[in-house]
């Protein structure tokens, strides 16, 4: 928090480093809160005690220790990874489609991942590693489908129609997934909670299979940021500057699929994070994708982890699935963006 207050006193509001440090400070505070508060009867005071005694071998409050270290900590970590992945994926997808509404959840990318996982479980797969790659392939399929639709005459230039195409694809894939769940009890039990999007009941081990693909995605993002920023000036300008828009777009779509597929495999389809986070990042740092991406890194986890905290607290002792909550937050933002006098152009 000291970092945050320090940064707020900076004179230049658009100083990227200041913003970044401030947001990271905020994220640290939220992360701490997510360890302290929960749906169970371990309150903040007991959790705080347990956290302080975490290093020592003996603990007098084993229940609090279990709840914080074994239940809350893993979902915090997953929330951090999923939030960052979805925020970055949203920013990339919006940049590559030059559409401020393009969001993995709305464009059918998450639905593609979820559908692929549902199919895989129906056909007997359940290894976590398999689930990640299956989800990523599904995400890639969803991405390519909707972008192919966007290439059809007229849709590509209209942000809202691209979203319509995505909504149709999402709806179709969701109903197909539901159909499978209706007919197959085993699959339904296996993924019922997963398919609405949630961080609950996840373990740290669920994260491990994500790391290789996330590392690849991170590396590609670093390489692609510059050409992608140039692409925001228009395809012809980017070519004039010596970039290869086609290759860049293709690679960005692969990165989006890796990120969204990975996040979906870990937490289920979570909508609107990829819309809200880049939107806030642009408002704070301006339109350059390189700045936006940096800010998405702390902003994504901030949104997901705070939403996760709220999801535990609104209907205790039960929990609201995270995907439901992000939709509740995100839908008004979407409506606000669409209703805005004019869409911000990217």
């Amino acid at each position: 928090m000291r970092v945050l207050t320090h940064c707020l006193s900076f004179g230049k509001p658009r100083s990227l480093i200041g913003l970044w440090l401030g947001l990271t400070g905020l994220l640290t505070a939220i992360a701490l809160l997510s360890l302290l508060y929960g749906a169970g009867d371990v309150g903040p005071a007991r959790a705080w005690q347990a956290l302080q005694n975490l290093g020592t071998a003996a603990s007098y409050d084993s229940e609090a220790r279990f709840v914080t270290a074994e239940l809350r900590a893993p979902r915090l970590w997953i929330g951090l990874v999923v939030g960052a992945a979805l925020g970055i994926a949203g920013a990339l997808l919006q940049a590559v489609t030059r559409n401020p509404l393009a969001e993995p959840g709305l464009l059918g990318v998450s639905a593609g991942a979820a559908f692929a996982v549902t199919l895989a479980i129906l056909w007997g797969a359940d290894a976590a590693t398999l689930r990640v790659s299956v989800a990523q392939l599904g995400a890639l399929g969803g991405c390519l489908c909707v972008l192919a639709a966007a290439r059809l005459q007229g849709i590509g230039n209209d942000p809202v129609r691209l979203i319509l195409a995505g909504a149709i694809l999402s709806g179709l894939l969701h109903s197909l997934s539901s159909l499978i769940l209706l007919y197959d009890q085993y699959t339904a039990d296996e993924i019922r909670f997963w398919v609405v999007g949630s961080l609950a009941g996840r373990q740290l081990d669920d994260l491990v299979p994500l790391f290789p693909s996330l590392a690849v995605a991170a590396l590609l993002t670093v390489i692609l940021a510059r050409p992608l920023a140039a692409l925001a000036l228009g395809e012809h300008v980017a070519i004039g500057l010596g970039h290869h828009p086609r290759i860049v777009r293709l690679l960005v779509i692969v990165v989006v699929a890796l990120l969204v597929g990975g996040a979906t495999a870990a937490a289920g389809p979570i909508a609107f994070v990829g819309l809200v986070v880049p939107f806030a990042a642009r408002a704070l740092a301006g339109p350059d994708i390189r700045r936006t991406l940096w800010l998405c890194l702390p902003l994504g986890p901030i949104v997901v982890v705070s939403a996760d905290i709220v999801s535990r607290l609104v209907v205790p002792p039960s929990e609201l699935p995270l995907g439901v909550l992000t939709a509740l937050i995100g839908a008004p933002v979407l409506i606000g963006v669409v209703r805005g006098r004019r869409l911000p152009t990217l």
């Binding site: 140039a230 000036l233 012809h236 300008v237 004039g240 010596g242 970039h243 350059d288």
Partner: protein, 283 residues
């Protein structure tokens, strides 16, 4: 300054690169626009490509800048086939400003001009003192130094176009291609951009621009290329090239041709539709 003065200042730069096409054929899908075009543009001068709508002048510019891959033939930049040059090498030698480019909201002039340094950078070497010099020079040449921190979309039309040209200047190429740099501007802003383009030839650049405005082309270009239906009807210095016959064949209009007493450039007056334009004799 007179037209002759322009030519003599720019003729000093013998080393400036020239652009040539050899048997160049360009097409969009199956629709052939230009066939077997042989062309040579003088280095170190301002060349204006003029012609009626749909005559293929923008297509030709796309071909010269590799936006459009030729169906046959080559474009040679100082003797080198541009299709064989790596993109980044080409971008260090040839800058392109497309028609009415659009800057993202809130992007500042300085941020836009910095993009011009991309061909000189890699993601390992993102920003160098040389880049800063290039950007500062470009801002100064275009008179935008004091506006550097302003958002591009808050500028006037002429200033905005100057900012885009500054980006192309920061690329530090010897050749600059401009697609209708003045077509969306009012008279004052047009002159602002034309004079900037003229002033760039003193830095030894070869400049090629596609423009609609024949009078502006006569006034500000050293070399004129008149295109009609994918072919070149005439080329050369404006005062030698532009004739009433050429204007009639290009645009289907009659006019009286005068010489501008102040600049020596050809001047079109009393422009009116040719009587028999409708029955196709304009072609």
């Amino acid at each position: 300054m007179t037209q002759e003065a322009f030519i003599s200042t720019s003729a000093d730069h013998d080393s400036a690169p020239d652009i040539a096409t050899q048997g160049l054929s360009l097409a969009y899908g199956n629709v052939s626009v230009i066939e077997e075009l042989e062309l040579r543009l003088p280095g170190g001068q301002v060349t204006a490509i003029v012609g009626p709508n749909g005559c293929g002048k923008s297509t030709l510019l796309s071909g010269m800048s590799r936006l459009l891959k030729p169906r046959a033939g080559t474009v040679l930049l100082d003797g080198a086939d541009i299709q064989r040059l790596p993109s980044r090498q080409l971008a260090k030698r040839l800058a392109l400003l497309p028609q009415q480019p659009h800057a993202p909201e809130a992007l500042t002039v300085a941020e836009l001009v910095r993009f011009g340094r991309h061909p000189h950078q890699s993601w390992l070497r993102q920003w160098s003192p040389e880049d800063k010099r290039g950007v500062d020079e470009a801002l100064e040449l275009t008179g935008l130094t004091t506006l550097a921190e302003r958002p591009v979309d808050a500028l006037s039309g002429g200033q905005r176009q100057r900012a885009w040209i500054a980006m192309a200047i920061a690329q530090q190429t010897s050749t600059l291609l401009l697609d209708e740099p003045t077509s969306a501007l009012d008279l004052g802003h047009q002159v602002e951009v034309y004079e900037l383009i003229r002033s760039l030839t003193t830095t030894g650049k070869t400049i090629v621009m596609v423009i609609h405005d024949l009078i502006g082309a006569c006034r500000y270009a050293d070399h004129l290329i008149a295109m009609h239906q994918g072919r070149i009807l005439a080329e050369g210095p404006p005062h030698e090239t532009v004739t009433t016959d050429l204007v009639r064949r290009l645009y289907g209009v009659d006019c009286t041709l005068m010489t501008d007493p102040a600049t020596g450039a050809p001047l079109l007056t009393n422009v009116r539709r040719t009587r028999d334009a409708l029955d196709g004799s304009a072609t």
